[in-house]
Amino acid sequence: MTCTEFLALLDELIDGTVGAETRKQLEEHLGGCAHCTVTLNTTRKTIEVYRSNELYELPKSVRDRLHQAILARCKNGC
């Protein structure tokens, strides 16, 4: 397996949707390729860091204001 072939399956590896046979091939490639190992690790970390940090907080005051505005109009039948 080449690095390009590995990369084409990167998402499926990360998402855990590869079959057992393919997984074995991917793992074999990883065993001998530091480059793809780094790519896999840092891509996983990229996803994790975005998942665990809220970039756009919605403050309570704004939420309350929005809820009131929405509900006021819903009660009037929009």
Binding site: T43, L55, R63
Partner: protein, 207 residues
Amino acid sequence: MATIQVTGESEQHPDVALVASAVAGDVQAFEKLIRKYDRQIFRIAQHITQNREDAEDVVQDAFLKAYEKLSQFQGNSKFYTWLVRIAVNESLMRLRKRRTGKMVSIDEDIETDEGSVPRDLADWSPNPEQNYTQTELAKILRKTIQGLPQGFRVVFVLRDVDGLSTEETAEMLGLSVPAVKSRLLRARLQLRERLSRYFRSKKAGEK
């Protein structure tokens, strides 16, 4: 028309009952749906419009539109999927208003060197967070994702931040499943590459 039928389906999504109550006139049930999803809708709207005021308006308009059309909602798709679809359309409309005359769609500006093998080898993966305050990190992450083409950004947010499936994301954006897959891979790799510029140099203690 909104009567809940007890069918053989043992596991009904909790939103189905809330939607049914809301259709029957129970505004509190709708409020529960707002509380449940407003933050996600705001986040998606922010990522598309890149404008706080617009994103707040989108939250409001998307829920109002959903309420208005609630009786048309088909119970066979998820309420949240349906809601996001409305919010994405509202967001694109706002964007269009700001860039008057310029057509905006989720399909725009996609061109990259597809499938190129990343070149750098620095592994910053274990703990890049520890070098930054929460505020600094959030700033870096915002700046980095804002640099992606919009069509990549939205796919990444729905799939990886919101945790939706490829199929759901495709449905929400009106894209094919292969298009979602290819965008997701490129979004992940581009983000990784851009984050490397920060995290790598910081780790080495240089620059």
